[in-house]
């Protein structure tokens, strides 16, 4: 216990007397190992989960819904521990509902930390609030106790959840990113996804001549769909180092040429083809407009098709293509796409049943758990082979084709979105300003660099590093 903390508690104690309220529990927490009641550990129960300990699961109920938890993972857990009560909470405001609970030490055992209001993982890890998931990945897999969990997941997916150098989040969903369009509409008009930027521009002009909006993204609540485009294009121009530098807050990372070129290219698309109204529309509004045949390309991840399945008319067939190459000398070929493990699942270190939390994640990573997830959500997980043999939707087929075409040319993820929410928030605002013509590409880069510098200089923000 540091001197300052003691003084702090003392101060609060004084307040408590004054206000006749028990001192609030700003209780410290140094433990990063499972806490709470434990049962006998063994090969079948590697974390020593207590048979009858209740488990509280908080699920972000967004595009993936929450049926995968209530119909697959939670019943699986209940089956393994019949005496345990499994409590399910679905919410769309992760941070608002959980932040005070973290501060008070009254936390759930598993959290799907996702959505526009997700919690800042850097802050949580800095405060020792999250369990190191290394024991999970080193535990025997449920399907085959001779194999470790870490060998059942695709390469790079554990690294995607590194915060503070250790895996603190299970990035469960394997997502591909690109431009989405209606394959049938394109076929009917003889349109082909463009490979070069000049072709892309020409194609957009043709689509516009047809009376459609060639390109749109939801500026109101999901500007990040578009900053992904800008950053993926930058990585295709200059290689993944561009993104790694941005994550590591390297000086001048945002003013590097690839970022400038990408921003300039996209700003031009914005100026020529992006209707002003999209800045004020949400992702569902824009996606529904695309389903109604009013939009050509929409930048998004592979959850899109499933998210829209109730709204998509039969005449509409989702397909995804890579972003066109910005220059002739791009470091990565046209076929390169971003695929990344996303959707962080975390176990709080102060959880009453954190062993149960780890076990729940192990269940998610089992063949049955992962397959059930894909069946309910249409999204593929990081568990190798779990979705094999499942019927693929048209959109997923096009994703699989894009993946095999890309081969090893994979654009890496952005870690700063989870590490530095302030930088991320600024990027949303600047992306809209750029795309809707209020700032130039140079201003965009300069202003983002200024914000990155400010974050770097802010001693109250814990810094993270990654190698590649």
């Amino acid at each position: 216990m540091t001197f300052n903390r003691r003084r702090m508690l003392h101060g609060l104690g004084g307040l408590a007397v004054l206000t006749a309220v028990p001192a609030c529990a700003f209780g410290g927490n140094e433990a990063e190992t499972p806490t709470g009641p434990t049962g006998d550990a063994g090969p079948e129960n590697p974390f020593g989960v207590a048979e009858d300990a209740a488990l509280e699961v908080v699920i972000f109920k967004g595009g993936l819904g929450d049926a995968y938890a209530t119909e697959v993972h939670e019943p699986m857990y209940a089956q393994r521990f019949p005496g345990a009560k499994v409590e399910h909470v679905a919410t769309q405001q992760i941070a608002q509902t959980l932040q005070p609970r973290f501060a008070g030490g009254d936390v759930p055992d598993v959290i799907a930390n996702s959505g526009t209001d997700l919690m800042d993982l850097g802050a949580l890890v800095d405060a020792n609030q999250l369990l190191d998931l290394t024991p999970l990945f080193d535990a025997p897999a449920i399907d085959d106790p001779k194999v470790k969990v870490r060998d059942r997941v695709v390469n790079g997916s554990i690294e995607a959840g590194l915060v503070g150098g250790k895996p603190h989040a299970l990035m469960y969903v394997y997502t591909a990113y690109g431009l989405w369009y209606d394959a049938k509409l394109f076929e009917a008009n003889g349109w082909q996804p463009a490979q070069t930027w000049a072709d892309f521009d020409a194609l957009c002009a043709k689509i516009k001549a047809k009376g459609l909006h060639p390109f749109a993204y939801p500026g109101k609540n999901a500007a990040y769909y578009q900053y992904w485009s800008i950053l993926v294009s930058a990585a295709k121009i200059g290689g993944n180092k561009v993104l790694v530098d941005i994550d590591n807050l390297v000086d001048g990372a945002w003013t590097a040429d690839p970022v400038k070129q990408s921003a300039a290219a996209w700003a031009e698309i914005g100026a020529k083809y992006l209707d002003k109204s999209y800045e004020g529309l949400t992702h569902t509004e824009v996606q529904t407009a695309q389903n109604q045949g009013r939009i050509g390309f929409f930048p998004c991840g592979s959850w899109l098709e499933n998210e829209q399945k109730d709204q998509t008319p039969d005449s509409f067939e989702y397909a995804m293509c890579p972003l066109p190459s910005v220059t002739g000398g791009d470091a990565m070929p046209y076929a390169a796409i971003r695929t990344a493990a996303g959707e962080g699942y975390i176990v709080p270190s102060q959880a009453k049943n954190s062993a149960g939390g780890l076990e729940y994640l192990r269940i998610m990573l089992s063949h049955e758990g992962a397959r059930g997830f894909t069946e309910r959500t249409g999204s593929i997980t990081i568990v190798k082979g779990a979705a094999d043999g499942l019927p693929l939707s048209p959109g997923n087929k096009s994703v699989a084709a894009a993946q095999s075409a890309a081969g090893d040319n994979i654009v890496t993820y952005n870690a700063f979105e989870n590490w530095y929410k302030e930088l991320e928030t600024e990027l949303r605002a600047k992306t809209n300003a750029l795309m809707f013509g209020r700032i130039t590409a140079d201003q965009f880069c300069a202003e983002m660099q200024a914000k990155a510098d400010a974050v770097k200089a802010d001693s109250s923000i814990p810094k993270q590093q990654r190698n590649g």
Binding site: V21, P22, C24, A25, E56, K61, G62, G63, E87, H88, V89, Q92, Q93, Q96, T97, L98, Q99, P100, R101, A103, G104, D106, N221, T282, H283, T284, E285, Q287, T288, A289, Q292, E307, Q308, D310, Q311
Partner: protein, 279 residues
């Protein structure tokens, strides 16, 4: 009536009617939109539904639990307003009509609460409620509503109690009535107009409270939610399910009871508000 007067009256009606339309139009539009399809809502905002369907209302009622949230809101607000008025009038009365050491201090302590931004207190408040074991309970919410309504209530009721005449209380005191009795059987009845109007203010304020329930009913207690939480939830989940007719049906479901109660008590509400505020 002179011609100019008549013309002026005509213009008055035009101005008044325009404002009335700005109030009515969005609400009527919401009702109509609940009967439309997504495509109709998006592409033809001013059109009527081609094939009106009540399906969306069924979906809204089922998924939005409007009925339950409505009952929760009624329970919480009734208890909280009753508590606010009782505690508020007791404090205001004593502060307004009895001189004692610390009177000014307490009065300003209460009144200063008028300018506290609730945001500032949210997190510490969460701990206070949690440490009392009242998190995720209606009791906790009611107590917090009462506490946060006291500044306004004490401020206005104290002003009101000050204006009441002394003679009746004095003579009752001479007749041997206790202070408590004088308060309940003499002063409160005299203060009725003020009490009514402050009650209405509190009902409206607490009915519309949005931040406090989100923070204080944040656990696995969806069955305890109040209506504003329900609306916020409908609006975000419509964002994920792309079901706008259901969103507008749910919104209509929350507007309708407010409208009904308002129409029934409209005269009392307006009369109550104005008597109080004019004093």
């Amino acid at each position: 009536m002179k011609a100019s007067q008549r013309a002026l009256n005509g213009l008055s009606h035009v101005a008044l009617a325009v404002w009335a339309v700005t109030v009515i139009l969005p609400i009527v539009w919401t009702f109509l939109a609940s009967f439309k399809t997504n495509t109709e809502i998006f592409t033809d905002p001013l059109g009527l539904p081609a094939t009106p369907s009540f399906d969306s209302w069924g979906r809204a009622w089922e998924t939005a639990h409007v009925g339950r949230y409505l009952i929760n809101s009624v329970v919480v607000v009734t208890a909280a307003t009753a508590g606010t008025m009782l505690l508020g009038s007791m404090a205001a009365y004593v502060l307004a009509r009895y001189s004692f050491r610390g009177n000014r201090f307490l009065y300003y302590l209460f009144v200063s609460g008028l300018v506290f931004p609730v945001f500032l207190a949210l997190v510490p408040l969460f701990f206070v409620v949690r440490n009392l074991g009242l998190l995720d309970t209606h009791t906790g919410l009611v107590l917090v509503y009462i506490a946060y309504s006291l500044p306004f209530t004490v401020f206005f009721l104290a002003a009101f109690f000050r204006t009441l005449p002394d003679q009746i209380a004095e003579s009752a005191l001479l007749d041997g009535a206790s202070h408590t009795r004088i308060f309940f059987s003499v002063m409160l009845p005299m203060a009725k107009p003020g009490l009514v109007s402050i009650t209405i203010f509190n009902v409206i304020g607490q009915w519309n409270q949005y931040l406090l329930p989100i923070v204080l009913l944040s656990g696995a207690v969806e069955d305890k939610w109040v209506l504003t939480q329900g609306i916020a939830n409908i609006s975000t989940s419509a964002g994920y399910q792309a079901d706008w007719p259901a969103l507008f049906a749910a919104l209509s479901l929350t507007i309708l009871p407010a409208l009904a109660v308002y129409l029934v008590f409209q005269r009392q509400i307006q009369a109550g508000l104005t008597t109080g505020a004019l004093k």
